[in-house]
């Protein structure tokens, strides 16, 4: 058939069935939109880091990086430069800071660099000549920072860094045109010397990036290692991205799971679309064959249909997904931004669009091809009775044994994964869903059979009609129930795991912070995990004079890269009340470990870190701190919610290993009878001269910590809710379509004298049965899925998880789906029930 004819024919046909086609397209579009939004959201974070890394690193292969926040002597640079094979070496100073402007404040990564960075080929300083940068005694802000703060070129901002407060001019605001996607990252650039002045790290740098001649790369690396002499790390230039990937792993895992569920919802929509369109397609195919169209011509028409539907649905979906991504699923790095310069810019990669569109096309193709397959199976050219969905006999469940065995097998696999290999949680979820879908027809038949037997007890004709119709529509009924089941399953499993995770993390926040009533830390959001160093002496002196203060202890902490893990180092004061959160110990005893920790020379680590160090409880290892130190492992804990892992040692050991007397926080003990609030006010008063420091009560810190984790995890709830709503919509459409197709039979019943009300109640009962069975099965399986996810999170990522059975969540999902779908489906049911008996006579 010529393309012109195809188009003409399509247009002629679509006018008559615009409603169904639109429904089908919208349905698929929703699935595509969810998939797209979730993918964008999860990929943006990694993309942000990758872009920043590329922007800095250019063509450099190696970097020499300090292990602690205090950097190393910049004179090392000369020695690096003299290594044979080194083409370029550029120093970078890096520190987390807070920028305050008229519009608020922002956590940024302050980067000090000079013209040598441009020699590496990175885009960050693209176009800036060396001289220009050095003359600019000002900061370069990206638009993602400047806009929310309301600052422009030439204005002054307050920079809070390393416990100091400085006023700095904004020398330039760079946008997309200047530095591309780097404009979205919170990286503030300053000339190296200015940066060193601002942070108090005169003569020191954090990293040196090295570009070697391509054939000398290994030799250069060995030379660098010997230069580092065990006090500095030599890593690949792009290792930041890898460290980030490790840290973001649980977030990415859950995002991928969601992407999977979204795709599944999209598939359900395809199923729904197919249910709506299949009869018309069947008749079309029969008509074409009876008009002499061979297989090729029929395929042309059908494929054209699929392509149009797919393209329209995918475009709609990507558009809708973009909206979702902008307003609902914006990437939120949450806790990750404490340790990584990751922004919340959105990156839409080409692969994301391609993937989303491919999913939409696949759904459209499936929807269109099922009736074709049924047609080709038929004996006669013009057969339209069997549209591949309803069984002739009208009774489902004939393959009961096969279904049962298949379902049990899938369930067994899931259980095996749960017990032995929780890391393969995604596969486990897949087999769990498989088991559920195989169980569903069996359950539905049994329920219907039971209801059928019960019908003799009811005086009303309504149950008879409802059950009879459901049994007639066999596979179609199962399809609708399946949509309900998957939706409730997804939201129950994910929401349940989410809550378990939250409940596991919450006590953690309390335990870490309640050791002192008032804390003093450098100002800025980054003090949630106290890891920014500052000189405590002035503050301690000021506090000592206040009568409400009983004692001030120094707390230390930072991040240490152990292998691919940016682990969180916690170093509470020796005399601290509970240096180790009591509920987080996995191996070893709390009391014993605490005593060891206080005595010195011992440390405590989370499981992943212990494994990375190759240590069991009691073993001695050499910690690769700025000054390598020998310590023994006292106990193994959870990761306190910081997914790469944590280390705990006492503050004095830390001071030795990090070669610093700086504090990361001050723990203030109050006089008896002084309330936390009163103590806070006293401390704030005492510190009024120290603008860069802030004081908070333990409670405030706890709430802030909770808020951060909640923020990161709240996305899970959003997605779960949207999935539910989307599925409810799909179901309602499918049920509505099913009922609408039955109009003739309803008219006939009217003719026999059954009234509108009885008919409507019958339709409602049908919906109730389908939804009830689907949602219940989904909820039960969802509870199992919750256990699987929880165990995966716990074992694989080391998160503290409070295992429970999320019955409330399950019921909530069930209720929501049933309510929404029921309401939406009630309308076509009501309309269909009002059909006049006349319709039974029409041709």
């Amino acid at each position: 058939m010529s393309p012109r004819n195809l188009v003409w024919f399509y247009v002629r046909r679509v006018r008559a069935r615009l409603v169904q086609e639109t429904f089908a397209a919208v349905g698929i579009a929703i699935g595509v939109a969810l998939l797209f939004a979730v993918l964008v959201s999860s990929r943006s974070l990694s993309a942000s880091i990758a872009q920043l890394t590329d922007g800095l690193v250019g063509h450099a292969q190696h970097q020499v990086v300090a292990r602690g926040p205090h950097g190393f002597d910049e004179r090392l640079l000369t020695r690096i430069g003299s290594i044979p094979g080194v083409e370029a070496a550029a120093p970078v100073l890096q520190m987390q800071a807070n920028v305050v402007g008229p519009g608020g404040h922002r956590v940024v990564t302050l980067l000090g660099a000079d013209a040598r960075l441009a020699e590496l080929g990175g885009t960050l300083l693209h176009g800036w000549s060396g001289g220009r940068l050095a003359q600019l005694q000002a900061l370069v802000l990206p638009t993602s920072v400047a806009r929310p703060l309301g600052v422009r070129f030439g204005q002054t901002v307050t920079l809070e860094v390393a416990g100091r407060v400085r006023q700095v001019t904004v020398g330039a605001v760079v946008g997309h045109d200047d530095v591309g996607p780097l404009a979205e990252t919170p990286a503030v650039v300053a000339p190296l010397q200015l940066g060193q002045q601002l942070t108090g790290m005169d003569g020191r740098v954090s990293r040196v990036f090295v570009r070697a001649a391509p054939d000398r790369a290994d030799a250069v690396k060995r030379a660098l290692e010997s230069l580092a002499a065990g006090r500095l790390d030599v890593r690949p230039a792009d290792s930041e991205a890898r460290l980030f990937a490790e840290a973001a792993f649980p977030a990415n895992q859950s995002a991928e799971l969601f992407a999977g569920i979204s795709a599944l919802v999209g598939f359900l929509f395809a199923l729904n679309a197919m249910l709506l369109m299949t009869r018309e397609r069947r008749r079309l195919i029969a008509e074409l064959r009876m008009s002499g169209y061979g297989l090729r011509a029929v395929l042309q028409v059908v494929v054209f249909d699929a392509v149009v539907l797919g393209v329209v649905a995918s475009l709609m979906g990507v558009g809708l997904g973009e909206l979702l991504s902008l307003h609902v699923f914006h990437p939120s790095p949450g806790y990750l931004s404490i340790a990584f310069p990751v922004g919340n810019g959105r990156t839409v990669q080409a692969t994301t669009i391609i993937l989303a569109v491919a999913a939409g096309m696949l759904a459209a193709v499936l929807a269109t091809f099922v009736p074709l397959a049924a047609a080709l199976r038929a004996q006669a050219l013009d057969e339209v009775q069997d549209d591949g969905l309803d069984e002739r006999s009208g009774r489902i469940g004939q393959k009961r044994w096969w279904l049962f065995i298949g379902s049990a097998a899938c369930l067994a696999i899931t259980t095996a994964i749960l017990v032995f290999a929780p890391g393969s949680a995604q596969l486990g979820m897949g087999t769990l869903v498989g088991s559920m879908l195989l169980t569903l027809p069996v359950v539905l038949t049994s329920v219907l059979g039971f209801a059928y037997r019960l019908r003799r007890r009811f005086k009303s004709v309504v149950p008879m009609l409802a059950v009879g119709e459901l049994l007639s529509a066999g596979n179609r009924s199962v399809g609708i129930a399946a949509i309900a089941a998957i939706a409730v399953f997804g939201s129950t499993a994910i929401e349940g795991a989410h809550r378990d995770l939250q409940r596991g993390l919450d006590p953690n926040a309390a335990e870490l912070n309640r050791v002192a009533p008032v804390w003093v830390t450098p100002r800025g959001v980054s003090d949630t995990l106290p890891t920014t160093p500052f000189d405590p002496a002035p503050a301690i002196r000021a506090l000592a004079r206040d009568p409400s203060v009983r004692a001030v202890q120094v707390y230390r902490g930072s991040f240490l890269d152990v292998g691919d893990r940016r682990s969180w180092v916690i170093a509470p004061p020796r005399g601290a009340r509970d240096p180790i959160p009591p509920t987080q110990v996995i191996t070893g005893s709390v009391g014993h470990a605490t005593a060891l920790l206080r005595s010195g020379g011992w440390f405590v680590a989370s499981q992943a870190i212990a494994t990375a160090l190759g240590a069991h409880v009691g073993d001695a290892i050499t910690l690769q701190s700025p000054r390598p130190t020998r310590l023994r492992l006292a106990a193994i804990t959870t990761n306190f919610g910081w997914s790469p892992g944590t280390l705990v040692l006492n503050a004095d050991d830390y001071a030795r290993a990090w070669a610093t007397m700086d504090a990361s926080a001050l723990q203030v003990a109050l006089m008896p009878g002084v309330s936390a609030q009163a103590g806070l006010r006293a401390v704030q008063h005492a510190l009024s001269g120290q603008a860069a420091l802030a004081a908070h009560t333990a409670r405030q810190r706890e709430d802030a910590a909770r808020a951060t984790t909640r923020d990161g995890l709240s996305r899970l709830t959003h997605i779960a809710t949207l999935v539910l709503l989307a599925a409810a919509f799909a179901m309602a459409a499918a049920m509505g379509g099913m009922v609408w197709q039955r109009r003739r039979r309803l008219a006939d019943l009217k003719l026999t004298g059954i009234g509108s009300r009885a008919l409507w109640h019958g339709l409602l009962l049908e919906s109730a049965i389908l939804l009830g069975v689907g949602c219940t099965v989904g909820a039960l399986y969802g509870l199992y899925g919750e256990q699987l996810l929880g165990r995966a999170l716990n074992t694989v990522t080391g998160f503290p998880v409070a295992h429970s059975i999320g019955a409330t969540v399950a019921l909530g999902s069930l209720a929501l789906v049933t309510l929404v779908a029921g309401l939406i489906a009630a309308l076509p049911g009501y309309l269909a029930a009002r059909i006049p008996a006349e319709a039974a006579f029409r041709d």
Binding site: L751, I754, S756, F841
Partner: protein
């Protein structure tokens, strides 16, 4: 039992004259009688049936069933009337394939408030009379056309209606079975004292009805021989 007086129903058309589907029709059917109505297919005959079944309201005229005027009933009352007083049989059966044959047959009884158990007991003798009681528990898809038709007839007669309305009931059946169904309808009407109206093309029916009419251009007239084709049996000349 059925008394139709000066019944008129017109349908408006897009532009011009309204279609006179039923244009001053009057006739009577006594209890136990079966009458046939012939005529060109389409509008008129179906409309007449719809009016008598209170599916539609006439423009003017009266329809009395057992002395009660039924042409202007409200929706609820019309439904009740159809449930209790009318049995409808047509070409297309619309049986619910998920219900067994006997459950399909008792839909009207249960709809009128009877318990399914009682309804089943009540209908079994009728099924036996129609020769399908052994198929009672089967699904409709397992029955032949004729058996399905008889289930439909059982359903129609289940509430002992005053009227039996049949719309081309033999349309899908072969001659032998047509005759069987027509005989059945005739007998049952007589036995139960039901007034039967049979709308058909089938010339076979003439042998089983008490009277035959033709509806032409909305008017009812006596049936004439060339309104249907009397079967001309071919003369066999043996060679």
């Amino acid at each position: 039992m059925l008394d139709v007086r000066a019944l008129v129903k017109h349908y408006p058309t897009a532009g011009g004259e309204p279609v006179r589907a039923v244009d001053g029709v009057s006739f009577e059917v006594r209890a136990g009688e079966l009458v046939a109505i012939y005529g060109p297919s389409g509008s008129g005959k179906s409309t007449l049936l719809m009016l008598v079944a209170a599916v539609m309201r006439p423009d003017s005229g009266e329809i009395l069933v057992g002395g009660h005027e039924i042409s202007r009933l409200g929706d609820r009352d019309a439904a009740r009337y159809r449930l209790h007083e009318v049995g409808f049989v047509s070409q297309t059966f619309h049986l619910i394939s998920g219900l067994s044959a006997i459950d399909n047959a008792i839909v009207k009884l249960v709809g009128s408030g009877m318990r399914p158990k009682h309804a089943q007991q009540r209908i079994t003798p009728l099924l036996a009379r129609l020769g399908v009681d052994s198929q009672a528990e089967r699904a409709p898809s397992e029955l032949s056309m004729g058996e399905q038709q008889r289930i439909a007839i059982a359903k129609a007669l289940s509430t002992n209606p005053s009227l039996l309305l049949a719309d081309e009931p033999t349309g899908n059946l072969d001659t032998r079975r047509s005759r069987a169904v027509l005989a059945l309808l005739s007998e049952v009407c007589r036995e139960q004292g039901t007034a039967g109206v049979l709308v058909t093309h089938d010339p076979e029916a003439l042998g089983y009805v008490d009277r035959a009419y033709t509806l032409r251009d909305g008017r009812l007239g006596e049936h004439r021989p060339d309104d249907t084709h009397l079967p001309l049996l071919p003369t066999l000349e043996q060679t």
